[in-house]
């Protein structure tokens, strides 16, 4: 049956079984391939998206369960101030190697910073522990999150 999903501010319709994970509706039916398939069992975080701002695994989110919640994917990340700062920090620090997991890393990091603008190192580790980077760019992911977190504090001083 058709499901109406609000994705990155636009309403999209998907005609698929309700138990279909959001990941596959995005990738196969809607042509939004930024959200990545890594494990299919919620263990790697590559498919992380936001539902009303909270990080969830799209491979474990049936489309029938989304309802009116707003879906944000990597394609919409740059529209938020936090997301844009993270994208810039990711590039400034040259975080990635293969880059495949980075959409999920960015979505987890942005959910963290939205909730906790200046997280402590342990908070970052805890919030990011669900995201595997097989290239193990963890050192730079940490640094980039710090970088993105510190920026609004500096802006606030001037503002």
């Amino acid at each position: 049956m058709p499901y109406r999903l609000k994705i990155n501010g636009k309403v999209r319709t998907v005609d698929a079984p309700g138990e279909m994970p959001l990941l596959w509706a995005l990738r196969n039916d809607l042509g939004m391939v930024g959200t990545k398939f890594g494990c299919g069992v919620g263990m790697c975080g590559a498919c992380t998206v936001h539902l009303d701002g909270a990080a969830v695994r799209a491979c474990q989110t049936p489309i029938a369960s989304v309802g009116k919640q707003a879906v944000t994917t990597i394609e919409g990340l740059g529209d938020t101030a936090v997301g844009a700062r993270l994208q810039k920090a990711w590039l400034d620090k040259d975080v990635m190697q293969c880059g495949y997991c980075q959409a999920g890393q960015l979505m987890s990091a942005s959910a963290l910073l939205a909730k906790s603008p200046n997280p402590k190192p342990e908070e970052i580790d805890a919030a990011m522990a669900g995201n595997i980077c097989r290239c193990a760019c963890y050192t730079r992911i940490r640094v980039a999150i710090f970088e993105a977190a510190a920026t609004p504090a500096k802006e606030a001083q001037h503002g």
Binding site: A16, P17, M20, P21, L23, W24, R27, N28, D29, G31, M32, V33, G34, T35, K36, F37, G38, C39, G40, V41, M43, C44, T73, I74, E75, L77, G78, L86, Q87, W90, L91, D92, D94, V95, M96, Q97, C98, G99, Y100, C101, Q102, A103, L106, I124, D125, A126, M128, A129, G130, N131, I132, C133, R134, C135, A136, C137, Y138, T139, R140, R142
Partner: protein
Amino acid sequence: MVDVALAETRLANGRLDRRTLFKVSALAGGGMAFSAAIPLAAEPGAAAPKLLNAFVSIGSDDRVTIVAKNPEVGQGIKTMLPMLIAEELDVSWDQVDIRQADANAKLYGMQVAGGSFATPTHWLPMRQTGAAARAMLVEAAAQLWSVPAASLKTSAGKVLDPASGRSISYGKLADRAATLPPPAPATLKLKDAKDFTIIGQFKGGVDSPRIVRGEPIFGIDTRLPGMVYAVYERAPVHGARLVSANLDEALKQPGVKQAFVLKGSDDPQALIDGVAILGTNWWLVNKAREKLQVQWDTGEWGNHATARYASEAVSMLDKGPAATPRNDGDVNAALASAAKQVTADYSYPFIAHVPMEPQNCTALYTADGKLELWAPTQLPQPGMDSCAKTLGIPAENITLHITRMGGGFGRRLMNDFMVQAAAIAKRVPGTPVQLLWSREDDVRSDFFRPAGWHRLRAGLDAEGKLIAYENHIATFSRKGKVAQSAGMNGSEFPAGLVSNFRVGQSMMETMVPTGPLRAPSSNALAYVNQCFLDEVAAAGGTDLATLMFRILGEPRQLPGAGGRAFHTGRARGVIEKVLAMSGYPKASAPGRGKGLGFYFSHAGYFAEVVEASVSNDGEVTAHKVWVAGDVGSQIINPAGAINQVQGSVIDGIGQALALAITLDDGKINQSNFHEYPLPRMPVTPDIQVEFVRTDYPPTGLGEPALPPVVPALINAVHAATGKRVRALPIDAAMLKRV
């Protein structure tokens, strides 16, 4: 079958033919394209292949397009090779656009992501390519202004005339330059390192801006009009053959369009038997697999198990080596005369590659017998050859687009997924098919790093000098030959440095596919060698660093594996450096220990120190890691270089802490990340990296930083607890305080 070892040997010598030829052609719409014959390294004495290549074009808008020839797997090659060209072309990095090459051996030579050999084999020819283009632009300006070319200079994409103060951009010279004869390579003068403006600078990955925006860029992101998705059900036991399949129920499932059986061979690198299901949505077709009823004949392989391999290995070690790839002096006599003897058994498991992007390939076969592939492959050419053979079409009918890859680590040197996609596509001519494996397919259908079992014996004389060393490996064969990436060659450290030295090898047959995993062989042998030598050092009343210095002796060059010579002075240099960085062996806090590991692989010298502690329940924490590496005179892109090293360190620590693939009844026991726990952010230690610069041409960094971290960690565990971990992964129960 891809013979990676042979390919590595051929390329590893790093001998570059200087008879580089250039030709040039005008581009439609203005601009020019330079073609250069970039000879690949060849065995000394062998004729270098002459291959025509086109790498540089310049538009009238001053945009410079540089072709990146090799597959990008996260090693940073798509940024690094164009940096070499851009440097000598003398353009600003900001004006450069990078274009990924398709697979084309005639134009680009060997295109491979593996073996850490892109740096040594391209360091000279890529710069020559840029310098040739620059020389033609200078000549064009000289003609335009009627001045001698030698009086002109270049900078940031412009030709400058210091005498008059004039300048002109490359874009305005491109048309004229394209009509000029190519320069003789002998006339090309390359820059001094002190004049580099791009090489040595921190350059971010060229694809990264697209990646942070979630744009389609990986193989799995390929979308074509009318494309269908496919899964491929294969036997749960490696080597099993398909007997029969009932597809009726699967065909009734939602989203399923087609299902059919494909019969292949028992060669896991080619097409294996299986059932393809095609449909409109991958999740739906993958779900339909549950409804398949397939009969498999597991043959003799159904009773294979890792426990059985382990016991067979021990009996082979007890029996003594079946073969001795190297036997210097008289090990037994020297051991008998030794003041101290040390013996220990070490072992390590099969491990998997699990790149984050599951294996996939998109294929379009058309009725005229042509095949187009969008393939995340580290080694396209053998995959195309294999597709040609399997489909019965000429290789020249195949076009392959190399996509960016979500990791490889050696897994994508094997092109089984490509052949499967091609074989499926042939059954639906005109319809593009994207074959995608589940993570479970990927874990179970890997070409695993082979497990190994070793017995080591060493003897020290009364002065503590190493006088005998034996390393006997029990390893795997396939159809009677050493299984891929298994076994050990005669140049294993400390070959040539101890007069009584023996490498022994015994083999048992397996059907489990094996293959190169990042730093193949070295990723396991470094652990065995450096942990055992740590034991030997302790038996002699000293530490590993001191013993290593004694073994290495005076600086000199020894022949190494695959034509890669081993220099004892460079080894010593990185060990000295890491000692100074880390303060080894003194730990920074009670309960902690520092361990050292050194290894030479892929032409790189790495010494690493880990500081670790062990909790009461046996959990190991790596707190800090110091890395000293020598990969020659120049770090081309520090951004990528340090990332590679830090990633390698965490990768190795993750392997030692938790990773193992096991089998029972011929089936792989692990299926997904809950059973194959890769390292995550919380285990990431502080990692300090320094490079020791030596006067040698630069070599690659994708692999050599990984092997030494494993023994460094295990030796740190010993320093902290007094316990030797002689089997990987670390067994916390063994380290528990009772």
